[in-house]
Symmetry: C2
Subunit: 384 residues, 2 copies
C-alpha cells in the first residue's frame, strides 16, 4: 500500500477541506453569491500580501501574471533591470526580451542571492530604468532574496519594483506595503494550498500610474480592464474566472486567517530548519542557504555516486514521497524538498525517512534515524 | 429546500464523477503519470474536435486562447477580417484592435448569422486578408454559424480561418478537418463539463506556417513553446497546467467517448428542440433561431410587462433555476437557457416548470403545464 506525499514546491498538497469545497456544485460568476465570495477572497489575499493595494487575479499559471506585470508597466524600448539568481529570475529576462525591452541583466550563480546594493548602484547609474524585476523565493534553488533591502534600494528611484513571490507568498514573509514593493506576483499552487490555475498581482499607486501610460499591447492580461471589473457594484473579473479554484482559495485563505500570519511564517521557518538539520545530520550537503530565510523549499546536493533520477524514483515509487529535481544548470546535481503550504512535522519526518531508506538501498550508507532524530530535535522545541 | 439547477451557458453543471476526480489528491505535472493523462486527454480532445491537428491547452479562460490565436497568427499592421453577430464576435474585433491589426469588421445584428458569401466576397476583394475570425456558437444570442460553409468560403484563399467554438465544442458539431477550419478555440466550462480555467486551440499546418512567421510579441500564449513541450518524450506544457482541471477533463472526456459524438450532438439538438417547443407553447417568443442549429443555448424574448432581472431572480431564489440574462444591446430584452454539457430532459423540464410558475407569479399568465407538455412531446419521441 502506497500513501502519497507530494513534497514538490508546486503543485503542493491540497487540504481535504479545500478539495471538498472545490467539489461543491459550481456557481455562476455573474451573481451576488460569487461577488461576495470574490470580495472575501480579495480581502483575505490582502491580509496575506500585507497590502492595501488592489489585487488582480487571472485564470493562468504564475507566468501569466508575471507577463501581466511586463505588459502593463512597460512600453516598447523601455529600459528595465532584471536581477536573477535562478530559473525563475531568468524568466523575467525572457519576458522582457519577448516584449522588446532593453534589459540590464544581473545574473547571479544558482544558489546565490541578489545583491540589493547592486540594484541601488544600477539605479543610480541609469535613471532611465523604469522597472526592476526580481524573484522573492527562487524556487529553483531555495534562495529567498531580501525583499526588504531590495525595496529600500528601489523606493527612492523612479523605478517600480516587481517581485515574483509565487513560491514565497504565504511561506516566506513579504510585506508588500511595509517594504515598498509595487507589484507582487503570486500563484495558487504553492503556499496558498490550492491547485494551479489562478494567479495574482498586487498593484501600487506608482505601478498604476505606469499602467495608465504603458504602450505594450495586451488584452487578457490588461490590468485596467481588471480594475474596472473590480470596481463594479458586484466586483468581478473581465473574463470568466476559474470558479472552482476561487472557491478552493476561499477555504484555504480561511485556514490561513485562522492560523495567523505570525504562526504561518514561523511554521514554515521551523519546517525549513528541521529539514536542514535532518539533511546535514544524514551527512548530505545543503545547496540552499543554511538559514531561516529559506522557508519554502530546501535544495540538497545529490551525493557523489548517486543518480538523482534513480533516487527520486525510489522515494516516489517505493515510499510514496515525490521530491523535485534540479532545473537549468543544477539539473541532476540537486534535488529539492518542497515545504510551502499544507505541510507540518509529519511530512518532513516521512520525507526524511524515505530519503534515509532510499539512500541506503542505493549504496550510499546513511545511519537510519540520523536525519529523523535531528528533525525531531527541532520539532521538539517548536511543534508545527 | 432549494435544489439548484445551473442553466447558464458557462459555467455549466459538473457531473459528480468529474467533481470526484478533481477532488483526488493532486499530482505533479512533470511526471510520467501526468504525461500519460495529458496524452489521453489530448487524444480525446482530438476526437471531439474531429481533427488530426495539434491541440494546445492553456491555463486561461476562453478569451486567453482567443488572444493566443491573434498573437500567434498575425504581425503588426496585418489585415484581418472579423465577422461578428454578437458579443463574443465583437471580442475578436477588440483583440485585433488591441494588437494593432487592420480589421475589416463585418457586424451583423444580434440574432442574425454571419453570411459565408460576404466572407467569400471580402476575401476575393482583398487578398491581403491574412486571417478570418468568426464565432461558431454565439453564446450571447444562441445563433450557431454555418462553419462548414464559412470553411469552404475561406479554404481557397490565403487566409486562415479561426473559429471561437467555446460554447459550441461538444454541443454543436464542428468538423475541424472536414470543414477546413485552421484554428478552433474551445473552453472547459461549457459542453466539456468541467469548471472554467482551461482553454484550447487546434492548429492546422497552414496556421503553423503563420505562427512561425508572426511578429506580434507573446510569451505565455506562445504556440511554438507549447508545441515544443508537447513534442517532448513526456508531453507537457511550457508552464504549470491547471492539474485538477485536466484531471476533471479526463473524466468528462471519457463520458463523451462513451456517449459517442453522434449521440452527443443529437442529445443537444433534442434539448434545443424541446426547449424551443416549450417556450413557444407557453406563448413566449424565441430570440434564437427556431431550428436545430441552435443546440447550445436558447434565447427568449422577455415578455412585455415583465422585468428580466425580477424574473430570473424569482426562478433562481424560489425554484433554484439559474438562467442567464442578455448581453450588450439585448441586455434586459432577452434571457437565455443554457443546455450545453451535462444536461438531459430533466433539466429542461425543471427549467420550464420554474418559468411557468414564475411568469404566473409576476402577472404574466401562462397555462401551467403548457411548456412542460410540449417539451415532453419532444422527449417522448426521442428520450435524452
Amino acid at each position: 500500500m502506497i500513501k502519497k506525499f507530494l513534497m514538490t514546491p508546486g503543485p503542493t498538497q491540497i487540504p481535504p477541506q479545500v478539495s471538498l469545497a472545490m467539489a461543491r456544485p459550481i456557481i455562476h460568476h455573474r451573481t451576488a453569491e460569487y461577488s461576495e465570495l470574490f470580495d472575501r477572497v480579495n480581502d483575505n489575499l490582502k491580509y496575506v500580501y500585507q497590502t492595501g493595494n488592489d489585487i488582480i487575479s487571472f485564470a493562468s499559471s504564475g507566468t501569466g501574471a508575471m507577463e501581466s506585470a511586463v505588459v502593463n508597466l512597460c512600453s516598447p524600448g523601455d529600459e528595465v533591470l532584471v536581477a536573477a539568481c535562478g530559473k525563475f529570475g531568468e524568466r523575467w529576462h525572457d519576458l522582457a526580451q519577448a516584449y522588446g525591452l532593453i534589459a540590464e541583466f544581473h545574473e547571479y550563480e544558482y544558489g546565490e542571492a541578489v545583491s540589493p546594493d547592486d540594484i541601488a548602484r544600477a539605479l543610480a547609474d541609469n535613471p532611465k530604468i523604469k522597472a526592476v524585476f526580481v524573484t522573492h523565493s527562487e524556487t529553483s534553488t531555495g534562495v529567498v532574496n531580501d525583499m526588504k533591502a531590495i525595496g529600500a534600494a528601489v523606493a527612492d528611484s523612479e523605478a517600480v519594483l516587481v517581485s515574483d513571490s509565487i513560491s514565497g507568498m504565504g511561506s516566506a514573509e513579504i510585506r508588500t506595503d511595509g517594504w515598498m514593493i509595487d507589484v507582487v506576483v503570486a500563484g495558487s499552487q504553492k503556499a496558498l494550498m490550492i491547485p494551479p490555475g489562478l494567479a495574482f498581482v498586487s498593484v501600487s499607486g506608482k505601478a498604476w500610474a505606469l499602467a495608465e501610460e504603458s504602450k505594450l499591447p495586451r488584452f487578457y492580461f490588461d490590468w485596467l480592464k481588471a480594475r474596472k471589473a473590480l470596481g463594479q457594484a458586484q466586483p468581478t473579473t473581465p473574463f470568466t474566472p476559474p470558479v472552482s479554484l476561487v472557491v478552493g482559495l476561499d477555504a484555504a485563505l480561511s485556514m490561513i486567517r485562522e492560523e495567523g500570519l505570525d504562526n504561518l511564517f514561523e511554521r514554515h521557518r521551523v519546517l525549513g530548519r528541521a529539514t536542514r538539520a535532518a539533511i546535514q545530520s544524514m551527512g548530505l550537503e545543503l545547496f540552499s542557504p543554511d538559514d531561516d530565510s529559506s522557508s519554502s523549499v530546501t535544495a540538497v546536493k545529490v551525493p557523489e555516486g548517486i543518480e538523482d533520477g534513480q533516487l527520486r524514483r525510489l522515494t516516489r515509487d517505493k515510499y510514496g514521497v515525490q521530491l523535485a529535481g534540479g532545473q537549468g544548470p543544477v539539473k541532476g546535481k540537486i534535488f529539492r524538498i518542497g515545504h510551502c503550504g499544507y505541510y507540518n512535522y509529519s511530512d518532513i519526518i516521512v520525507a526524511v525517512t524515505a530519503l534515509e531508506l532510499a539512500l541506503n538501498e542505493l549504496g550510499h550508507p546513511v545511519q537510519l534515524g540520523s536525519g529523523v532524530s535531528a528533525a525531531e530535535q527541532v520539532f521538539g522545541k517548536e511543534a508545527v
